[in-house]
């Protein structure tokens, strides 16, 4: 019995679909998903892999099939059938890709929204605010004194200025170059990036980390505790906001396992929020060409349970306290550590329990 071609088409279609569905979810091409956002992005990637595998197999299949089935036999100088078009077929193969890309767009839109792309807070900050047009130097004064309602003070600049003054960080901050280039007038115009997820939008993130990129290192400052360090620790399950800027050229913050990337641009402050999910040691990579040693610009990122994170914070504080004591010894003002820390406690809203732990 001759099997009708429509059945062959159906069978091939089923096999193609099954293979695509299987490969799209078992490609093993992505590293660990270490944040809640990464899981969503992976879902999108898998969906695109399913569709892509199907299209790839279809096109290559037709191509190879044609090459064998329709190749010219020796001595055959006839032309093929003069088929010039087929309107229903052309409409079909215009409509199917159109529907596919609309589907992917809608899915991407949804994921983008879920990871905080549409945080209204971020959009609100989007336009360049006045500071960016002000004269160099006056920018900070304006931010600190009469901040117009609705404009966030430039946290990054404030904190890094504090860090610059702070003898506690003298050791880490490597003379007077870091954490921030001070004559960058544009600092404070927020490049809106990935904000809070819809349920957290508009609220401050649970943990803030300021990140400064410079050739060829990353500096992390924890504004709530004043820690300045070369490696970033974040606790599982707490939403983290990264405020970043760059000192010299454009850098980009990328942790492959987080599926997040954002350029750190001199003269701008940009931010990303995410919620770490899987404990592990990861690497922060600079993804934007920043000079000859671009490839070496990496920093360790540790995602750890809450307790381990608190322990790390304490260790850092103790370490800086020791530095502080040494600094205080040569300080004519002769402040006690408690007196020295007082303004930080007031301004930054350090949690009382952390302070309590510090006092031990």
């Amino acid at each position: 019995m001759k099997i009708p071609s429509s059945i062959w088409t159906l069978l091939i279609g089923i096999v193609l679909t099954l293979v695509s569905l299987w490969y799209g979810q078992n490609h093993g091409l992505l590293p660990t998903a270490a944040t809640d956002e990464a899981v969503l992005v992976d879902g999108l990637f898998n969906a695109m892999m399913i569709v892509s595998t199907g299209i790839f197999l279809l096109v290559e299949g037709i191509l190879i099939y044609s090459a064998f089935k329709y190749r010219r036999r020796a001595g055959d100088n006839e032309d093929g059938p003069p088929v010039e078009g087929n309107v229903p077929l052309e409409i079909l193969w215009t409509a199917i890709p159109a529907i596919i890309v609309i589907g992917i767009s809608v899915y991407s839109f949804d994921v983008y929204n879920e990871i905080g792309g549409f945080d209204p807070h971020a959009i609100h900050e989007a336009p360049m605010n006045q500071e960016s047009m002000a004269m160099p130097g006056s920018a900070m004064a304006a931010t600190l004194s009469d901040t117009p309602p609705g404009t966030e003070p430039n946290l990054n600049q404030e904190k890094s200025d504090e860090a610059m003054e702070d003898p506690a960080t003298a050791e880490v901050r490597n003379a007077d170059q870091i954490p921030q280039l001070r004559n960058a007038p544009g600092v404070g115009s927020v490049a809106p990036t990935i904000g809070g997820t819809p349920d957290k939008a508009g609220k401050p993130a649970e943990l803030q980390v300021n990140v400064t990129g410079l050739q060829y290192a990353w500096i992390f400052t924890y504004p709530e505790t004043g820690i300045t360090t070369g490696e970033m620790h974040v606790p599982i399950g707490r939403e983290v906001q990264i405020n970043m800027t760059a000192n010299d050229v454009i850098h980009a913050f990328w942790v492959p396992e987080f599926r997040l990337k954002q350029d750190a641009i001199p003269g701008r402050q940009s931010e990303i929020r995410f919620t770490p999910k899987t404990a592990g040691d990861y690497t922060l990579i600079c993804a934007e060409l920043c000079g000859p040693y671009h490839g070496a610009m990496r920093a360790p990122i540790v995602v750890e349970p809450e307790e381990a994170f608190d322990k790390w914070v304490q260790e850092q504080l103790v370490a800086s306290k020791e530095t502080l004591n040494q600094a205080v010894a040569v300080n004519p003002a002769n402040l006690s550590p408690n007196e020295f820390l007082a303004p930080y406690i007031k301004d930054m809203g350090i949690k009382p329990e952390i302070l309590h732990q510090v006092h031990h």
Partner: protein, 578 residues
């Protein structure tokens, strides 16, 4: 009588004794013959391709091991910067212009381009620009800020090298603007009477779309580069944040050209493939109008997708969605083309010669680049893989698997017309096999590298990526080796190959209706359209073509109810030729 015979009978060339013979010196002179200029373009750009290829292999050699051990990081950055600049501005873009120069006047039955001297000027900007760029390596201060040359990095690296780079790219941009003007006017004004736009070969449509795109987008790049030059040399701060400038503005200006540039690099070869596949499949192109209009659609949409290169560099959230959608939509006209080519092959009588193999290789590898392009359009995913080897893989599948295979297909297809001799098919197939293996070995593993976390433009990388990088490097060596059979074959066949005759492929487009190589002014009388450009497989009786009639009313395919009325005003050719 087949359509090919009809067409050839209607247009039998009279010039038979050593047509189109030229002195070798012509190729080194300010010659205004479009065919000489076309060959000048093709040979010059191929030489730059080889130089850029050597640089690519040096880059890959460095990347064979995770450590920096072959060249210094500074030299490494210069190498990939020059590799990219040469391949884009000195190879693919001008190679497309080379084919267009050679083919457009022949395809539309004109004696030359509309502005022959402008044409020569456009070509003669390329060698100095290229030499300038390569000279920067010799003076020891080569540009090393990437081919994108983003400030502030480009402002703090070597000033001389960066200045040379800007100057060179400005010259090349000017050259392509002049070329584009010439192609547009030629296509609009110099078609033979009776050739409406729907009788134009698809390569002409593709070049029309490409030229329009070049004309709109290239000046913006020039503006961006001039401002960058001011920042670099005069100390202004258009893009320098320490003086209040905004580096992101440069990115907008740069990508306003450089995204369309990828269509400037691929559209001509979409056109060439649309010529090659029907001839070697012996079937009419499937969906002529769909392919023609999809070129225009790509050209238009290509202008409004640039910010998808900037999804991670601080543009508002809603804007990302706009550019995501426009980028995704480009997949639709591109898909139409791919399915139409498959439809053309389906049921045909495919002659698997080198030209057709490269054309099929083009379709097969370009589709991979196209698919990953749709993936990259999806913002959340692009945020992960932007500036990684996934992007490197994507762009090489499009530009190598697409444009370069397209160039090779076009060379094999039109070689008999250009030189009058056939290429050696055996070595053409060896070339094809090596190219396909090398191409996939080099660029396929890069997808995984990028997804796993290898960023681009780095000389040292995480040792866990060593194995895949070794595969890529050996693939790149195979690609280097693959050009040798081609170079030797092309030179040998040009000198000693079998004589081709005027129309070895029995094609229908007008360039095959003159001698091979074509005579100085192409046709000894204005050609007539006896058939449509792709009317393969239509049998036609002899009485359909009253060839003796000076104003023949032609019948046959769907495009051929034409009245050819010689109109000296329209068909006029430039008299000021050398």
């Amino acid at each position: 009588m087949t359509q090919a015979q009809v067409q050839e009978t209607a247009n039998a060339p009279a010039l038979d004794d050593e047509p189109g013979i030229r002195k070798w010196q012509d190729y080194f002179s300010f010659n205004t013959d479009h065919k000489v200029i076309g060959i000048q373009y093709l040979v010059t750009t191929f030489i730059f391709y080889c130089i850029g290829g050597v640089m690519a292999d040096l880059v890959r050699t460095e990347l064979r091991t995770p450590e920096v051990d072959f060249v210094t990081p500074e030299v490494y950055n210069s190498l990939f910067t020059l590799h990219a600049t040469i391949m884009i501005f000195l190879w693919i873009v001008p190679a497309g212009a080379g084919f267009a120069n050679f083919l457009i006047p022949l395809m539309i039955g004109a004696k030359d381009m509309a502005f022959p001297r402008l044409n020569a000027v456009a070509f003669w900007m390329i060698p100095p620009a290229g030499l300038l760029l390569i000279a920067s390596l010799v003076v020891g201060d080569a540009p090393d800020a990437g081919w994108t040359s983003y400030p502030p990095l480009s402002l703090v690296t070597g000033q001389v090298g960066e200045g040379i780079w800007i100057m060179s790219v400005l010259l090349l941009g000017t050259s392509s603007i002049l070329g584009a003007i010439n192609f547009l006017v030629t296509l609009l004004k110099m078609r033979i009477p009776g050739m409406g736009v729907h009788q134009m070969p698809l390569f002409c449509w593709a070049m029309f779309a490409t030229s329009a795109l070049t004309l709109v987008s290239t000046p913006v790049l020039a503006a961006g580069l001039i401002l960058l030059a001011f920042d670099l040399i005069a100390g202004t701060t258009f893009f320098n944040p320490t003086g209040g400038g905004d580096p992101v503005v440069y990115q907008h200006m740069f990508w306003f050209y450089s995204h369309p540039a990828v269509y400037i690099m691929i559209l001509p070869f979409f056109g060439a493939i649309s010529e090659i596949i029907p001839v070697h499949s012996r079937k009419p192109i499937f969906g002529y109008k769909a392919i023609a209009y999809s070129s225009l659609a790509i050209s238009f949409l290509g202008l409004i997708v640039w910010a998808h290169h900037m999804f991670t560099s601080g543009i508002p959230g809603w804007l990302r969605m706009f550019f995501m959608i426009t980028t995704m939509i480009i997949a639709v006209p591109t898909g139409i083309k791919i399915f139409s080519w498959l439809g053309t092959m389906w049921g045909g009588k495919i002659q698997l010669n080198s030209a057709m193999l490269f054309a099929m290789g083009f379709v097969g590898t370009f589709v991979i680049g196209g698919i990953s392009g749709v993936m990259l359009a999806a913002v959340p995913f692009d945020i992960h893989v932007h500036d990684t080897y996934f992007v490197v893989a994507h762009l090489h599948y499009v530009l190598f698997g697409g444009s370069v295979l397209g160039i090779y297909a076009a060379i094999y297809h039109w070689f008999p017309k250009i030189t009058g001799r056939m290429v050696n098919e055996f070595w053409g197939k060896v070339h094809f096999a090596l190219t396909i293996v090398g191409l996939n070995m080099t660029f396929l593993p890069m997808h995984k590298l990028g997804l796993m976390g290898m960023n681009r433009r780095i000389a040292q990388y995480d040792p866990k990526f060593t194995f895949l990088n070794e595969i890529c490097t050996y693939g790149a060596y195979i690609l280097a080796v693959s050009t040798f059979p081609f170079i030797i074959n092309a030179i040998w066949s040009w000198l000693y190959g079998e004589k081709a005759g005027n129309n070895p492929w029995r094609a229908l487009t007008l360039e095959w209706m003159t001698t091979s190589p074509p005579a100085i002014e192409n046709f000894d009388r204005t050609p007539v359209l006896a058939t449509g450009p792709y009317d393969y497989g239509l049998e036609k009786a002899d009485e359909g073509v009253p060839l003796s009639d000076p104003n023949p009313i032609l019948s046959g395919g769907p495009n051929s109810v034409l009245r050819a009325e010689p109109d000296p005003a329209v068909a006029a050719n430039p008299e000021d030729r050398k």
